[in-house]
Symmetry: C2
Subunit: 144 residues, 2 copies
Amino acid sequence: MDHRLSFVTVATRDLDAARTFYRDAFGWSPHLDVPGEIVFYQVAPGLLLGFFDTASFDRDLGVPPGTTTGPAGMTLAHNVGDRDEVHALATAMAAAGGTVLKPPQEGEFGGVFHALVRDPNGVLWEVAHNPSWRITDDGTVELG
Amino acid sequence: MDHRLSFVTVATRDLDAARTFYRDAFGWSPHLDVPGEIVFYQVAPGLLLGFFDTASFDRDLGVPPGTTTGPAGMTLAHNVGDRDEVHALATAMAAAGGTVLKPPQEGEFGGVFHALVRDPNGVLWEVAHNPSWRITDDGTVELG
């Protein structure tokens, strides 16, 4: 079985906030944008992050509308090149409407330096500089 | 800003169930496995899926232990090569302890054929064959 995660989909109550936040904080352009329905951003090679309104999300799940209140219990992590970039991106995310839950600081494990920021729809992001993280030519992640 | 999602972290109540499910359903081997603490699987080039117990997840968030009950409001999608593979993987996920929420069927949009399966810890997976999904040599996703 290939290792082929291709999509991360988020139940959102405010598509406009999602559109604005990722444009302003990360400087990304939507990969696909259907106002009132969906916004997709490409977040890694071969991987899209998609925002759907909660009504669509619940219909897809086969649960009553309003069952899903928002994302919880999952964190997306974005690695950057150095500690200054952690500070810069956390600041940009706050300016774009995010909430800083943990200001940039040393992590508990593995020499990581990171911040934790919640986006306007509740998506948790870790912004990290991790010197022990490497990706080989074939895409394999090496840690340590 | 690069498009560099590197980690998806899930709050879990049962690390052993996570370890077993991904091994048996997808045939993956853990990328890093610290019994009682974490299990990481590589899910795409340069991308790890990590399971942390909810206590660690909550400590990291700075909320009281037990606040996070599990993942919600996010779906991970795994693309496969054809419709038979959608059936085969959904069947394997159910045999490995997953719950099929939507059996393999035509999707509403874009010619996708998909199933929706919940893992033992509540992670939602879409297993999809999407003929309009392409990844170019530089990693850009093309749809349609």
